[in-house]
């Protein structure tokens, strides 16, 4: 291994860890200020449903590509079954706080957690 190789690896690792840290920080900050936590479910580029994470339910998504089942329980949303080829979405940890995502690429299903504060604009204006 050459010296430049090591420098390159260290730089890439620092960039990766740094941006990971910044992302976590921003996510934690967004989570703190959010009163309502919702999951936005987008299927094939279009908004399928927005659900509140405090309302337990099972959501079924069926397209010609296949099916995905989502479950909301204990304030978290989980993809518990899908007939996609890679099963990456099913193995993804449950999404809890704003910024968390569950993605099923083969079926183009994206679940994104968003937080909003009840005060909305007014709270910021004060």
């Amino acid at each position: 291994m050459k010296k430049t190789d090591i420098i390159l690896i260290v730089v890439l690792a620092v960039v990766a860890l740094g941006s990971l840290g910044i992302m976590r920080l921003l996510q934690a900050r967004a989570a703190e200020s959010a009163d309502v936590i919702e999951a936005e479910i987008v299927v094939e580029g279009e908004l399928f449903k927005t659900v509140n994470l405090s309302e337990p339910q099972v959501i079924e998504i069926r397209t010609e590509k296949g099916y995905n089942f989502l479950k909301i329980e204990n304030g978290q949303i989980l993809m518990f079954e899908a007939d996609c080829r890679d099963q990456i979405c099913v193995n993804t940890v449950p999404a809890v706080q704003p910024g968390d995502t569950i993605v099923c690429l083969p079926h183009e299903v994206v679940v994104q957690i968003k937080g909003s504060s009840e005060g909305g604009l007014d709270a910021i204006a004060q």
């Binding site: 050459k2 430049t4 190789d5 390159l8 690896i9 990766a16 580029g45 080829r85 193995n91 995502t101």
Partner: protein, 177 residues
């Protein structure tokens, strides 16, 4: 590093065929390994061993052919149209960046460095394709996690290529340079 033989055309063709076959087999083997970094989408990238070896052994047009055939044939054997798009984006982006570094004779980087760059480029290509398909750029947020995984797999692949090239040179099938 051209082949030293009067029948170099046939030899080159056979070499390309062997490399493509190896890449396809490595892709298939990789699918069977239940390997999980806990990072969605992270892979070992074994086919990259062949891509990088081809870049070192063959001139641009021939190594390009190896990569193109590998992507096409793997898609025909096991893939779907969408998996083909992902390997096209990842495979070509990592190939072009690695090829650029090797053919322009960027001597500061060894096989390991180039392999790591290639692995990161592969992830970037796939994420860009994913962002395009689902029309959502947030998915690029997976890049830092994938980069960390790519550094590990890139080092492993680079080391393999290093040993492989040494062994191939010992066969004296290739001219020394």
């Amino acid at each position: 590093m051209p082949l030293r033989s009067k029948h170099s055309k046939t030899r080159t063709m056979v070499l390309i065929a062997v490399l493509v076959a190896q890449a396809i087999v490595l892709s298939l083997v990789e699918r069977m390994i239940p390997f999980n970094f806990n990072v969605p989408g992270a892979k070992l990238g074994l086919a990259n061993i062949v891509t990088l070896t081809a870049i070192y052994l063959l001139p641009f047009r021939q190594s390009f052919l190896v990569v193109t055939l590998r992507i096409l044939m793997t898609a025909f054997i096991v893939g779907s149209f969408s998996s083909f798009l992902y390997s096209l984006a990842g495979g070509y982006l990592s190939y072009f960046i690695m090829a650029l570094l090797v053919y322009l004779d960027f001597k500061n980087l060894g096989t390991i460095g180039i392999s790591v760059v290639g692995a990161v480029a592969h992830n970037l290509g796939q994420l860009l394709m994913a962002a395009f398909i689902i029309q959502n750029a947030f998915i690029l947020g997976y890049l830092p996690m994938l980069m960390l995984a790519a550094i590990g797999t890139g080092i492993a692949v680079g080391l393999t290529v290093q040993y492989l090239l040494k062994a191939l040179k010992a066969t004296r099938l290739f001219q020394n340079n």
